[in-house]
Amino acid sequence: MSASATLLLPGTLDLLVLKAVSLGPLHGYGVLLRIEQLSGGALQVPQGSLYPALHRLVQQRLLASEWGSSDNNRRARFYRLTEGGHRHLEQETGRWARVSEGIAAVLAAEAAS
């Protein structure tokens, strides 16, 4: 976790968690690692917020959880994406893309000469 890592924008944690899990079932620490890895260490997930977010997504039925064993043969709770989670991820990805394009366009504007 490098010092240059950026804090997440509010509201984006759920999206990132869904994306991370969509690539394959993960336990909580695995989600953390995968987001850091995918962002090239640019995004820092606050560890304290990760678990409430996971539990919230389970409550919303976007994720499902089950107990399995981790790489070092320890019992761990694994999360995977549900059908609904897939759909939700697609929608939100699209929305994010539009919003960020919009923001980028606005920020790229230059003063008219």
Binding site: M1, H27, G28, Y29, L32, P46, Q47, G48, S49, Y51, P52, H55, R56, V58, Q59, W67, S70, N72, R74, R75, A76, R77
Partner: protein, 874 residues
């Protein structure tokens, strides 16, 4: 709530949450160690990075909490807060609902217990009463049979499981040894039933058996079955009671059975003896009833058997006779059915009125909450979420109202149940049981839905734009006016029904009884007793009794009758001399001077005198109705009638006396019942025994001073006269009249209570709409006053629409009552559903209520601070 939630989430959840977080920290520690940190340092850094484990756990728990439960808690908490802030509406809603729920619960319990609940016997749906119809009865069913009908049924359909019994109970003398060894004579209610009666009803005996066929034959052994209660209270709960002797009606009876503790014959009988049905004597009239048990698989067989029996009786009578099985429950409660159903409908109307009131209160409250709702919507509360919040509030009110209502019902039930038992003679066990609870719950929930619909829909519809229209309340709410008019209409029809029933009752009870009631005290004795089997015994008893009573200085006079005013009399057939047509008349007997004692009007000829002995010429005194019906156009005095096998001469005519008509019933008490009075000494000896098994003769005295003195004089004289013939049911004639009208009084009073409730609720509804209306038009009124309208003019403008609503409600209500009046028709006597006085009373009441409801807000209008209203709202 929170603690409860914690226990709800089980320990496994906590363990897994801890394990998950521990796993995270372990993994992180392992990673840090892999990056070269020493294990201890790695662990503490992992913990630092993770932050407070407890806080994370708490956040996780927050996410995992059962969402709906959480919302409910929140809504409830909010509702309680709101109700605490505005307790007025809450109290009004809960009180209204409680009254409605209480009334519904009580009436439902009575209706359900009497009409719908199972009889207290095993497989009660198999029990039937065999009734009959003939061409003469034009299809309407008769419940009593004569000995011939029963015998034909028993002979032609032996496979039918049926028995014959009498549903009349009579007081008979029981002499039992008290625990101290003294012999005590009391009067107990005796019912006579055929063999197989207890077996058919199916409640096993506590000990012993019912009657067998030999005991149920004329000349069979004298046996008796006693109820558990009699065995406990009068027979000292002796273990060796079976086979013991009981001196019943002057005759030794062997006790062969004790019924189960909870056995209820439905008649209040305490002791049973065999019926010994026959074709002669009492069996020549329709004095029996037939009970049958028909199982599901026996239906076809039973129908065929009844058809065969019907044909054999029809062949004998030649009048299209037909037996018809009627479910026993229906046969027993039929006489109350219409009254109870009407009562049920009335209480339903009260509930509707209450719901409208509550809806009105909530709509008014909603008007004040538009701001709040609009804010909630603006902050992102969905329509459904807002609706849920409102429903939660209403459910909370419902729960409080229902709970309070049930508590009220519990109190009222005890009163109504006691009344139903003593006044209506119902032996049911009235209790708010689980059926009543379920019904009440359903009623309360239905009420919630009903009274929540309108206001909730309005509030949930409130959108964000309402925020801007601050202070602008609804225009005149037409919907609410319609509801209030409907409510007034229901109230009016209930009030009219109650008024009609009350006027009918007061007509019946204040009508001229044909006798003078004041100071008259009567008491019943049982002469169906071996001591009175001898022809002379009864005569001697009456003669010496009259003598003893006349000697008492506390009494004006004394006498005896077979039946008294306000009672049901004995029916007999008679013929007029020179005519073979048989007619029915009530036959009574009286001792010399007894008619004068009651001050029965003396119309012509003479009354019964001392010279009318058993050996002197047979005479009769008839009443005016008798002469009008049967001696019209003739000189009644000297007419000869043939009655109970002997011809007698009419020597006198007396006025009509009000009594319970035993045939051609038109009213619970009637004066137009043809009646023949015979001298007690001349009553046919052969008929005496039979008649006295049905009727207990009455001693009558008139006290010089207080009725209490009369009571005492009567009791001491009669019990000294014949210690084994105790006198029972001593009461004034006024009480006898009240007893005869008990059903009418029960109905009229319950209706009056319901109508009062309805009227109060309707008044509250009117007051509510007036207040809202005037509140909403304050500004308009202020402007009018400022522009120079006179105050009376303004008040008139404000009140008129409300009075209009009341008037429309009144009109609809009267119309409704006309339509529903059909149901009441059979229950009104002496007045019709179009009784003008009742209508006037109702209209007067409603006008009064409307004015009362309008007055307070109108008076407030008079003190309207015009300037400040105009400033405020400018």
């Amino acid at each position: 709530m929170r603690r409860w939630l914690h226990t709800l989430r089980n320990r496994r959840y906590e363990r897994e949450l801890a394990e998950e977080i521990e796993h995270h920290i372990d993994e992180r520690t392992a990673d840090l160690v892999a990056r070269g940190l020493d294990p201890d340092g790695a662990r503490s850094q992992a913990r630092r990075e993770f932050g407070s484990v407890d806080l994370v756990k708490d956040h996780c728990r927050d996410q995992d909490r059962l969402a709906w439960l959480d919302e409910l808690t929140r809504n409830l908490r909010f509702a309680v807060r709101r109700l605490r802030r505005a307790p007025g509406v809450f109290v009004a809603v809960v009180a209204t609902l409680a009254l409605c729920v209480a009334a519904n619960a009580v009436v439902f319990t009575v209706v359900d217990t009497v009409l719908f609940q199972r009889l207290p016997y095993p497989a009660p749906e198999e029990l039937f009463e065999v009734q009959w119809s003939s061409e003469q009865s034009r299809g309407s069913l008769r419940d009593s049979v004569d000995g011939t009908m029963w015998q034909s049924l028993a002979d032609t359909a032996p496979e039918l499981r049926a028995c014959v019994y009498s549903d009349w109970t009579q007081g008979v003398n029981l002499i039992a040894r008290s625990p101290t060894g003294a012999e005590v004579a009391t009067v107990v209610e005796r019912q006579r039933v055929g063999s197989g009666f207890f077996e058919l009803l199916g409640v096993p005996m506590a000990s012993g058996r019912g009657f067998d066929i030999d005991e149920d034959r004329v000349g069979g052994a004298a046996v008796a079955v006693v109820t558990w209660r009699l065995w406990r209270d009068r027979l000292g709960a002796r273990e060796d009671v079976l086979g013991s002797r009981l001196l019943l009606a002057g005759e030794a009876h062997t006790v062969v059975g004790v019924t189960a503790e909870r056995f209820d014959p439905g008649t209040g009988a305490e002791v049973f003896t065999p019926l010994r049905a026959s074709r002669e004597g009492e069996g020549s009239g329709t004095n029996y009833r037939i009970l049958a048990r028909i199982g599901d698989h026996e239906r076809a067989g039973a129908t065929a058997a009844l058809d065969t029996a019907s044909r054999s009786v029809a062949a004998m009578r030649g009048d299209g006779f037909s037996f018809e099985p009627v479910p026993l429950l229906q046969a027993r409660s039929g006489w109350l059915r219409d009254r109870l159903l009407v009562l049920w409908a009335a209480v339903g109307a009260v509930l509707l009125i209450g719901c409208v009131n509550i809806a009105g209160l909530l709509i008014a409250a909603a008007g004040r909450r538009r701001q709040e709702m609009a804010t909630r919507r603006a902050l992102g509360g969905g329509a459904w979420a807002v609706t849920r919040q409102l429903l939660t509030e209403n459910l909370l009110q419902t729960a409080c109202g229902a709970a309070l209502g049930l508590a009220l019902a519990g109190v009222a039930m005890r009163w109504v149940a006691g009344w139903a038992r003593t006044a209506l003679g119902l032996t049911h066990d009235f209790a708010l049981d689980d059926r009543a609870l379920l019904y009440t719950l359903a009623v309360a929930l239905l009420a919630t839905v009903l009274f929540s619909l309108a206001p909730t829909a309005r509030l949930a519809r409130t959108d964000r734009s309402s925020l801007r229209q601050r202070g602008v309340t609804d225009r005149r709410s037409k919907g609410r006016a319609v509801l209030v008019a409907g409510q007034v209409a229901l109230g009016v029809s209930l009030l009219l029904a109650a008024t009609l029933l009350t006027r009918s009752l007061s007509g019946l009870s204040s009508a001229d009884p044909g006798v003078e009631l004041e100071g008259v005290v009567s008491g019943a004795v049982s002469l169906a007793d071996a001591n009175f089997a001898e022809a002379g015994a009864v005569r001697e008893y009456f003669a010496s009794g009259v003598e003893a009573l006349r000697a008492d200085p506390r009494l004006v006079g004394a006498g005896a009758f077979l039946s008294l005013p306000f009672q049901r009399g004995l029916n007999m057939n008679f013929t007029l001399a020179g005519d073979d047509d048989r007619h029915l008349t009530v036959v009574n007997y009286a001792t010399p001077g007894a008619l004068e004692l009651l001050a029965v009007r003396h119309v012509a000829g003479r009354l019964i005198e001392d010279r009318d002995r058993s050996t002197s010429p047979l005479v009769a005194v008839v009443n005016q109705t008798f002469t009008e019906l049967h001696l019209a156009g003739r000189q009644p005095l000297g007419a000869r009638i043939s009655l109970m096998g002997a011809e007698r001469e009419v020597v006198g005519v007396v006025g009509d006396v009000r009594q319970v008509p035993s045939f051609s019933a038109s009213a619970p008490l009637a004066r137009d019942v043809p009646t023949v009075y015979l001298p007690a000494d001349q009553f046919p000896v052969e008929a005496m025994g039979m008649v006295h098994t049905w009727f207990q003769p009455h001693w009558v005295v008139r006290a010089r001073a207080t009725p209490a003195a009369g009571t005492e004089a009567l009791r001491s004289a009669i019990e000294r006269l014949e210690p084994v013939t105790p006198i029972a049911r001593i009461s004034g004639l006024e009480e006898a009249r009240a007893r005869a009208l008990a059903v009418e009084r029960f109905q009229a009073l319950l209706f009056a209570v319901l109508a009062l409730l309805a009227l109060v609720l309707a008044a509250v509804g009117l007051a509510g709409i007036t207040a809202t209306e005037i509140g909403a038009r304050r500004r308009e009124m202020a402007v009018r006053i400022a522009l120079g309208s006179s105050l009376p003019e303004v008040v008139r403008r404000a009140i008129l629409p409300i009075l209009g609503v009341a008037a429309i409600g009144l009109a609809i209500g009267l119309l409704l009552a006309q339509l529903g009046g059909r149901a009441l028709r059979g229950m009104l006597h002496g007045i019709g559903t179009d009784d003008p006085w009742s209508h006037l009373i109702v209209i007067g009441c409603l006008v009064g209520v409307a004015v009362l409801a309008c007055a307070p807000p109108a008076l407030r209008l008079l003190r309207l601070p015009v300037a400040s209203v105009l400033q405020d709202e400018a």
